[in-house]
Each structure stands twice: as C-alpha cells, then as structure tokens.
C-alpha cells in the first residue's frame, strides 16, 4: 500500500509501523460540491504523539481535520474520496456510526465554545450522553485537573461556563473533551484566540496529555508547531485547472526534520518565513 503513495509523502510515512498508526489517510480528496478543497493526501497519524498541520490559509487543514471525526458530514455539499481509517477500520464505511466516531475522536475548536451551562455540566454533559455510570464529581474534578483548570474554577463549578475568560473557556473545552476519554483529540487552532500565557498553558497541557491521547493540532504558529509536535505536515494550496485553488500535502515528517532539514523547497520557504 505504501508504494501507492505520492512521491512527496512516501519518504515520511513508511517509517511508522501499522499498529502505531492511529489515523491513516490514503489518497484522500475532499470536495465541497464540485470544488476540490484537498487533493490526494496520504498521511499516517502516529499514536500517542502530537501531529501538527501547518500551511497557509485555505489549504484545507481544517477540512482534513474535520474529516477525521466526520464533522464534515454536517456540510451537505462536502464529499470525501479515498480512504480514512482509524485503527485499521474505514471511518467512512457504511456500518460506521459517526456518533461513535466522534465519541472516540474528540475535537477542540478554534473559538472556545462552552455550552451555556454550568462549568460542572459542561464536563458532565458528554459523559452523561455517553452513558457514564461512575462518580461524576470525581470525573469532573479529574478532567478539570487534567486540563489545568481545576484550581481556578473549583469554587465556582455552578457558574456558567461562559463567565470564564477565553483561555479558561478553551481549557474547559479541552476538559470536556478529555472527560469522554476519546482516543484521539483533534484541535483546530486551539490557541488562536488566546493570550501568550494561556497559550503556554494549553501547550503544556498537550505535552502532558500525550501519554493518554493521540493529538492532531492545526496551527498557524510555527514556533508552536515546533514546540508541541512530534510530527509535522506541511500543506500548501495551488491553483488547479480553471483557476480554483486546491490544497495538498507537501511534506510530512518528524517536526525536527521539517524545521531543520526540509526536503522540499516550498517547505523550506514556508518554515523560514520566506513564503509567497
């Protein structure tokens, strides 16, 4: 299967053994109606590591990320070609339940989106709908601790989640994702609305969560990608026939290699800030 891969990504992915792969994209193209947003992506997301997606705006990072938990199902015009598998199972197989997929592959969004409920219920909601039977107080505390938020909110668990600061809200959203104990956490620019201190806290958080979870993070912040991720995928967009721009994977490798010795000129230009 590896030799089907396009020349750009072959060098990088064949190093990972199958059982260490959490998510695998094979020749994935994503369309919105007739518009091809992402073209022919091959990519393996390794287990218990942080994989970063970087690239200029509009190259399809969010689009690809949202295919990993089937959130693009909500967009009526979206269509996925190729194969995305999660622990060897085809995510888009007929018998795959998208609800089950999303329970096992959680997501944190660019804009913090706590529910208009209490802090406690924000965490408990996901657990309840997933049939959690254990000690809820304990789960809430544990999740908030994992998200490094407990000390700040332990005295106001009954207050609205919306009354928190943006950085706290984002950590609350991470906590509620942790609470359902997914295997993978997808994060789409989780720090873009946060100040440097909150950003640092979320980054530390990712480091500590790595043991438990596989993480994929989209970021525009090159330093962030270099700091938090083990693997980095660089995407770019190119004008195709008819002038519409499609996104594609340029290079995927160990973060260290992407930043210090990129194989492609495009990658080199982008990570060194000489883009365009």
């Amino acid at each position: 299967m590896q030799n089907m891969q396009s020349s750009t990504s072959r060098t990088s992915t064949n190093a990972i053994a199958d059982q260490a792969v959490a998510l695998r994209a094979e020749n994935v193209s994503v369309y919105y109606g007739a518009f091809q947003a992402v073209r022919n992506v091959f990519l393996d997301v390794p287990k218990n590591q942080v994989t970063a997606f970087i690239g200029p705006s509009g190259c399809g990072k969010s689009t690809l990320l949202r295919c990993f938990n089937r959130l693009n199902d909500l967009v009526a015009s979206a269509r996925v070609d190729g194969k995305i598998s999660f622990q060897g199972r085809d995510l888009y197989a007929r018998d795959m339940d998208p609800v089950e997929v999303r329970r096992r592959i959680g997501m944190v969004f660019q804009k913090p989106n706590p529910f208009p409920k209490s802090i406690y219920d924000n965490i408990a909601f996901g657990a309840r709908i997933n049939g959690f039977r254990g000690n809820m107080d304990e789960l809430v505390e544990r999740s908030l601790r994992s998200a490094a938020l407990w000390d700040e909110v332990k005295d106001k668990l009954n207050q609205s989640g919306l009354a928190l600061s943006g950085g706290q809200q984002q950590r609350l959203c991470i906590a509620r994702t942790i609470a359902i104990e997914p295997e993978v956490i997808l994060m789409d620019e989780p720090c873009s609305a946060l100040d440097p201190v909150s950003t640092l806290r979320v980054e530390e958080l990712m480091h500590s969560l790595k043991e438990q979870f596989t993480m994929v993070i989209v970021t525009h912040n090159m330093q962030q990608a270099a700091r938090v991720s083990d693997m980095t995928a660089f995407f770019n967009a190119e004008a195709g026939e008819g002038g519409s721009r499609f996104g594609y994977l340029v290079e995927y490798n160990k973060t260290q290699d992407i930043f210090s010795s990129p194989q492609q000129q495009e990658t080199h230009d982008y990570v060194s800030g000489r883009f365009g």
Partner: protein
C-alpha cells in the same frame, strides 16, 4: 469650525430624540397605571361589596345582585393552560423541525411563511371556522375519547357543540404561530459552534437538540410561551363564540364554561349598577393575572440569562 457646529446639531438631535423616547416610555407606563386606576374606581362598588370573596364565589345572579367570579377565573385559566399544553410541545417541535435541517430549505421557507400568516387571521374568523368546520370535525374524536377515557374526570362529560375543549384547541392554533416564530428565532440565533461542540462530543442529533440547543434558547422559548399565555388568557371572541357561556365549574374539559373575557363580552352591553361594577372587577382581575404572567416571564427569562451569559 463648521465641523463642530454640525456635531453640536447632531448632539442636539440626539438629545431631543432621547427626550422624545423617554417621554413615550413614561407615557406608556402612565397609561397602564391610568387603566388600572380607572378599572379600580369603576369596579369599586363591587370591590366594596364582595371584597376578595368575589374571587371564591360561584354565584352570578343579576336578580339577587350577588356576583362571584370563580367559574370565570377557572375557565380563563384552565382554557389557557390547556391551550398551552397543546401548543407548546407542537409549536416548539415545529420550530425545531424548521431550524434543524430535517426538511430541505425549499420546503422549510414556505412552511414558515404560511405559519406566520396564521397569526394574521382575525379571531372572529377562527371562531366562525371552528363552528362551521372544526367542531363538526373534531367532535367525533372527542366522543371517542369520552367513551374510552370517560372514567377520567377530565373527559367525564359527553361533548356537545360548545365547550372549553374547543376553545382551548382553537386558542392553541391561534397562539402556535407566536410560539413557533419566537422559538425559531431564538434557535436560529444560536451560534453554530454550539451544535458542532455537542456533536463533536458524540451527541446524537436529538441529544444535541434536547440537551444543548433547546436549553440554550430557553429564555426565548419561555418568553414565547408567556406571550402566548397572555394572549390566550385575554382572548375574547373565540371564547365568547365557543365556550358555551355556562357559569359553572366542571371537572370535565368537554363541558361548557365561561371566561372573564367572554363574560364581559356577553353581558357588558346590558349591564348596569352592581353587575357592571362586578364585570369591571372581573376585568381588573384578568388584567392582574396577565400582568403577573408577564412579570413572571421576565423573572424566568432573566434567571436563565444569568446562566447563559
């Protein structure tokens, strides 16, 4: 300098506009107080004679000049509550169907439009339509309910051509557009991130709707329900035409009854003296009930908003 002059003109207009709207606001509050005071004054003979006992007495005898409003209050409140019990689940349900993409947009938009048109139908037309079309149509259904569930006091009497239930059903149809339109607006205005956030946690579509979206728009929905309740309590024409004008309390919803509004509509033209004062007293009570509903609505809404913001 010319620039500053035009600025001061703008400020002057600003201030003038502020004063004008402030005057209107105070004026409206003044009218409310004025109505209450006038009602109280004109009703005073009845208030002095019957006191609060008026609320608990069931006799309404023009000959003996003894008046009590309990059946009217009962009919008003019960017919409105039954209407709500029917209209709220249906209305909120329709609002959900019109906002979540259960239906393609080409069908959704005309349906929403037609529903909002329902709000424009005059109540007397609803009354006529009920007498000519609706009651003959649903009466067999009510008869069936009475036969099967007649042992429940609520359905304990055989339906005739008038009754509280018909009033409630038509009221339900009349207030549904309000509930649908306002609930729909508050559902539509929810940020899409909320829905995505719930789905991304593995919630099903219905869990998302029932446990996240509806609670999040609760203040809007409660507001809609209270507005609808206010309308149902005060609706006169439909009650006067359909409820049967029988001054009695019956446990059965199929029995005829009377509401405050229908009583006033029926009797006020010929009423004099103490009867007239009693009708005004009843009107005062209706107004106080409606005011209480609205104050309650405000309280509930502001309580929910504390959690939402």
């Amino acid at each position: 300098m010319a620039k500053f002059e035009s600025l001061s003109v703008a400020r002057w207009i600003d201030r003038g506009f502020y004063r004008l709207t402030a005057a209107f606001a105070v004026g409206i509050a003044g009218i409310l107080v004025w109505i209450l005071v006038t009602l109280f004054q004109t009703a005073y003979p009845a208030i002095a004679k019957f006191g609060l006992g008026f609320l608990f007495s069931s006799r309404w005898s023009v000959q003996e000049e003894i008046f009590g409003a309990l059946p009217l209050i009962y009919g008003t409140v019960v017919s409105a509550l039954v209407a709500l019990a029917i209209a709220v689940p249906i209305g909120v349900g329709i609002a959900v169907f019109l906002t979540e993409d259960f239906l393609p947009a080409q069908i959704r938009t005309p349906i929403a439009f037609v529903i909002e048109l329902l709000a424009a139908v005059p109540s007397v037309v609803y009354g006529l339509w009920a007498i000519v079309v609706f009651i003959p149509f649903v009466k067999p259904v009510l008869e069936l309910v009475h036969q099967v569930l007649g042992w429940i006091p609520l359905f304990g009497s055989a339906p005739t051509n008038v009754g509280l239930m018909y009033t409630s059903l038509i009221l339900a149809i009349m207030i549904s557009p309000t509930i649908i339109a306002i609930s729909r607006d508050s559902l539509v205005s929810l940020p899409p991130q909320l829905r995505q956030g719930a789905l991304a946690l593995g919630a099903t579509r219905w869990e998302t709707i029932l446990k996240v979206l509806l609670p999040a728009s609760l203040s809007g929905i409660v507001g809609a329900v209270m507005l609808a309740l206010g309308r149902a309590l005060g609706e006169t024409m439909v009650a006067a035409m359909l409820i049967g004008s029988k001054n009695a309390i019956s446990a059965s919803l199929f029995a005829p009854g009377q509401t405050i509004a229908s009583m006033i509509a029926n009797q006020f033209g010929e009423a004099t003296g103490l009867q007239r004062a009693s009708l005004l007293y009843a009107g005062l009570i209706l107004m106080l009930i409606t005011l209480a509903v609205n104050v309650l609505a405000e309280l509930i809404i502001s309580r929910f908003q504390q959690v939402e913001h």
